[in-house]
C-alpha cells in the first residue's frame, strides 16, 4: 500500500482552474437569490481559510459570511484564563497547554505574560508531552489545561488513560472542552437570527460523525454542509448550500467525504464517553452561559480534576470582555470585525482587547492579518 504523503492532503484542492469553475457556478446560481445568503462558517479554521485564501473576492456579493464561535481560543472566558494563571503561579505547579492559548488575555494578562513573570507554563504540540514533563518533575503538580472542541477531546482522554496506566499521581486536568452543536443551536435559537446556512467543521465530524448536526437540521430547517478546509472544499460546500437553499430543500450533506462519515470515529467517542460528561453550563466568551455546551470529568475521575484538587486557588466570578469590544455581535453575525470601534485602533494581534483578535482563527485577527487594507477592510 502506498503511504499517504502530506502533499496529498492539499494538492489539487487549491487548483486555480477548479476554483475558477466552482466560482463561476456559484456566480450563476447566486443570480437566483432575492436577498443575500448569510452563511455561518462555524469553525475558526474555516474563517482562517476564507481570509487566508481571500475567497470572498471570488464570490458574488450575495454570499455573506458570518464568522462563528468555533475557535477554542476565542471562546475562552477571562475567568478560565485567570484560573490557569493562578494554577501556574502556585508553588511547585507546572501548567501545560497547547499553542496559541498562551496569548489569550485574562483579566490581568495572558499566560505568556505570566510566564515572563515567573509562572511555570509549558506550551506543547501534543497533550501526550505532559507525561514526560510529569515524569521528569515528580515533585511538581503538573496541570494540563485542556482546551478545544470535539477534535482535541480524544487526545485529552488518551492522556488521562496513559496517566492512569502509568500510575502517575502528579497530573491533573483543568477541563475546558466544549461542544459545537449546543453553541450553534443557541445562536440559531436567538431572535432575530442572521444565519441562513451552516458550514460545519469537518475535523469535528471526523471524530463525532455528521450525525451531530441532525438535530440542528430538524429544529431549525437550514442547509448544513460538513466541509473541509481547503479552498476547493469551501467553494464546493458553498455551492451545495446554495443549491439546497434555492431549491428550498435544506439537508445535512457531507462535502468532506474523504474523511467524514455519519457515525464518526467510534473508538474516539468511546474514549471520550469513558472519561467525560456534559457540564450543566459553560460560559462562552462573548456569548455567555450555554447549557450542556462544555465537558467535565466524570465522578469516577474526580481525583484528576484540577478544579476540585485546587479549588481554593480558583475564582469563578465571571469577567466580561473590554466594554468597547463587540466580539459577541461578531460571533452572532450582527457585525463585521471592521465595524468594531477598536478594530486596529487599540485592538490588534499584539494587544488584543477582545477574544476575536487573539487567535489566527478569530474573525478579527483573520481580517487584520489578511484583508488587503487595515482598517478600511476590503475583503
Amino acid at each position: 500500500m502506498m503511504a499517504i504523503q502530506l502533499k496529498d492532503l492539499f494538492d489539487g484542492f487549491r487548483d486555480p482552474a477548479t476554483l475558477s469553475a466552482l466560482a463561476e457556478k456559484i456566480q450563476q446560481r447566486a443570480e437566483g437569490l432575492s436577498q443575500p445568503l448569510r452563511i455561518m462558517e462555524v469553525c475558526g479554521g474555516h474563517t482562517h481559510s476564507i481570509m487566508r485564501y481571500a475567497l470572498p473576492q471570488l464570490l458574488p456579493k450575495q454570499i455573506e459570511f458570518i464568522h462563528g464561535p468555533g475557535c477554542p481560543v476565542c471562546i475562552m472566558p477571562k475567568e478560565r484564563i485567570d484560573q490557569a494563571i493562578a494554577l501556574a503561579f502556585a508553588p511547585n505547579h507546572i501548567l501545560v497547554t497547547l499553542g496559541d492559548m498562551l496569548r489569550v488575555p485574562g483579566s490581568k494578562g495572558s499566560l505568556a505574560q505570566a510566564r515572563a513573570q515567573g509562572a511555570a507554563v509549558h506550551a506543547v504540540y501534543s497533550p501526550l508531552e505532559t507525561l514526560k514533563i510529569a515524569q521528569q518533575n515528580p515533585d511538581k503538580q503538573v496541570i494540563f489545561f485542556a482546551i478545544g472542541f470535539e477534535t482535541t477531546t480524544p487526545m485529552t482522554a488518551a492522556l488521562l488513560a496513559q496517566v492512569i496506566a502509568l500510575r502517575l499521581t502528579n497530573v491533573f486536568f483543568h477541563i475546558n472542552h466544549v461542544l459545537v452543536p449546543p453553541a450553534v443551536s443557541a445562536l440559531l435559537a436567538e431572535q432575530p437570527c442572521h444565519i441562513d446556512a451552516l458550514i460545519a467543521p469537518s475535523h469535528v465530524s471526523v471524530i463525532s460523525g455528521a450525525k451531530i448536526y441532525q438535530s440542528l437540521l430538524e429544529t431549525y430547517n437550514i442547509p448544513i454542509v460538513v466541509s473541509g478546509f481547503e479552498p476547493v472544499d469551501l467553494l464546493q460546500s458553498i455551492l451545495q448550500l446554495l443549491d439546497q437553499y434555492l431549491s428550498n430543500q435544506p439537508a445535512l450533506e457531507v462535502q468532506y467525504s474523504r474523511a467524514v462519515n455519519w457515525q464518526g470515529n467510534l473508538k474516539a467517542q468511546a474514549l471520550i464517553e469513558q472519561f467525560f460528561q456534559p457540564r450543566a453550563h459553560f460560559r462562552w466568551r462573548g456569548l455567555g452561559d450555554i447549557p450542556r455546551s462544555g465537558l467535565q470529568l466524570k465522578p469516577d475521575w474526580q481525583a484528576f480534576d484540577a478544579e476540585i484538587a485546587f479549588a481554593d486557588l480558583l475564582s469563578h466570578t465571571p469577567i466580561d470582555d473590554h466594554k468597547r469590544c463587540i466580539c459577541g455581535d461578531i460571533l452572532r453575525g450582527r457585525a463585521k470585525p471592521h465595524e468594531c470601534k477598536v478594530f486596529a485602533r487599540g485592538c490588534d494581534p499584539q494587544h488584543p482587547l477582545g477574544s476575536c483578535m487573539v487567535s489566527s482563527e478569530g474573525a478579527c485577527h483573520a481580517y487584520y492579518r489578511y484583508a488587503k487594507q487595515t482598517p478600511e477592510v476590503r475583503v
Partner: protein, 333 residues
C-alpha cells in the same frame, strides 16, 4: 563525563587551560595567538561592523548547531552590506555542567565555518555561570569586513519597478528547529539552510548586478523582511504566492501546525531588490551555487499600496502579507 565547571570561568588557571586547550587550539591564528587585551587588525576603506547573540534550543540540529549559526549569522549580516568577511570576535556564556564534548563539538564547528569563510577569529571571551542562569550556552559574535562597492545596498535605494528575488527555498531552518523542539518526526532528511551568503553576493557583484537592497531573512522570515522594506520605503510590494519556493517537508509541517513558510526563520537565504532588467541575470548567477539552486523572482516594488505587502494567489485573489505575530505557536485545531 567531563563537564564545564564554574572554576573554568573564574579567570585563573582553569580558565587559562580551557582557553588554551579548546579555543586557541580550534581558532588558532597569529593575531589571536598574541593573547593581548585587544587584537590589532588592518582595515582599509569603508568597513562594516556588526554584532549578534545566539541562543537556540536544541544546541544541535539537522545540518548545524549553535556554533555554526553564530559564525554564519554574523558573517551574513556583513555580506548584506557587501562586506567581505574579515575578522570575528566570540563571547561564550556557558552554563555550569555543559558537557565538555558538546562545547568542543560546537567550537570545532565554528572553526570549520570560519575557515570556509576565509576569515579569522581574533578575540573572544568566556564566562561560566551557575546552573540555571543561562540555557546551556549563549554565544555572541561580532564581525568586521571590508565593503566591496561604492554604493552598498540600503533600504533607501529600493525603487518602484524593482524586482524582488529570494535566493532559495524558504523556512527550512525554522521548520528544523520546530520539529526538533516538538519531537516531531518529519520522516525526511530536511536540514537547516544555514549557509554563508558572501560567495553569492560576491558573484553578483562580479557579474555587475546592481543591488538596491539586500537582507538575510532570519527570524521573522521573508514576511518580516518584506514588511520592513515596505514600511521603510513607503512603497508597495507585490508578491506572487505561486513563485515562493518552498520545499515539500516544510510545506507539510506548515500544513500540520498552521504555520506559513514565509514566517519561518532562515539562516542562509537573502532577499534582493534590484532593477527589473537585471533579475534574469541575477537568477543565472545565483543558480550556479548549490544553496541558491531554487532562487526565484517573487515579485515587484510598486506605488499601489504604500507601506504594504500584497500577495497574489494562484487563483487571482489578493490579500495582505502581514508581519509574523510574535512567538510562533502552533494553531490549536
Amino acid at each position: 563525563m567531563k563537564s564545564i565547571q564554574l572554576s573554568q570561568g573564574g579567570g585563573g588557571l582553569e580558565s587559562q587551560t580551557l582557553i588554551q586547550n579548546l579555543f586557541y587550539r580550534h581558532f588558532n591564528n597569529p593575531i589571536l595567538a598574541q593573547a593581548e587585551d585587544a587584537a590589532l587588525i588592518e582595515c582599509q576603506g569603508q568597513t562594516a561592523f556588526t554584532t549578534d547573540s545566539y541562543t537556540v534550543n536544541p544546541l544541535f540540529f539537522q545540518g548545524g548547531d549553535i556554533g555554526k549559526l553564530a559564525v554564519i549569522g554574523t558573517l551574513n549580516d556583513l555580506a548584506m552590506r557587501t562586506a567581505r568577511p574579515g575578522y570575528l570576535s566570540a563571547g561564550f556564556i556557558i552554563e555550569e555542567g555543559l558537557a565538555y564534548a558538546d562545547l568542543e563539538r560546537i567550537v570545532a564547528s565554528m572553526a570549520q565555518a570560519i575557515a570556509e569563510a576565509d576569515c579569522q577569529l581574533v578575540c573572544g571571551d568566556t564566562k561560566v555561570v551557575p546552573k540555571g542562569a543561562v540555557d546551556k550556552l549563549f554565544i555572541n559574535t561580532s564581525g568586521i569586513g571590508a565593503v566591496q562597492t561604492n554604493h552598498p545596498p540600503a533600504l533607501n535605494r529600493i525603487q518602484p519597478g524593482d524586482a524582488l528575488i529570494v535566493s532559495g527555498d524558504l523556512g527550512r531552518h525554522g521548520a528544523v528547529i520546530m520539529a526538533a523542539r516538538g519531537g516531531l518526526d518529519l520522516n525526511s532528511d530536511l536540514q537547516t539552510d544555514c549557509a554563508l551568503l558572501w560567495p553569492l553576493v560576491e558573484a553578483l557583484l562580479n557579474a555587475g548586478i546592481e543591488l538596491h537592497a539586500l537582507r538575510d531573512a532570519t527570524r521573522g522570515g521573508l514576511a518580516t523582511v518584506l514588511n520592513e522594506w515596505a514600511q521603510a520605503s513607503g512603497l508597495g510590494l507585490a508578491i506572487e504566492e505561486s513563485q515562493l519556493p518552498i520545499c515539500e517537508p516544510v510545506q507539510g509541517l506548515c500544513e500540520l501546525l498552521g504555520f506559513e513558510a514565509y514566517d519561518l526563520a532562515n539562516e542562509g537565504r537573502m532577499v534582493i531588490a534590484l532593477p527589473a532588467d537585471q533579475a534574469e541575470a541575477a537568477l543565472r548567477v545565483l543558480r550556479q551555487f548549490d544553496i541558491s539552486q531554487n532562487a526565484a523572482h517573487i515579485g515587484e516594488v510598486n506605488q499601489h499600496q504604500p507601506g504594504q505587502v500584497i500577495i497574489q494567489t494562484a487563483w487571482g485573489t489578493q490579500r495582505r502579507l502581514h508581519w509574523p505575530n510574535g512567538e510562533l505557536l502552533p494553531r490549536i485545531c
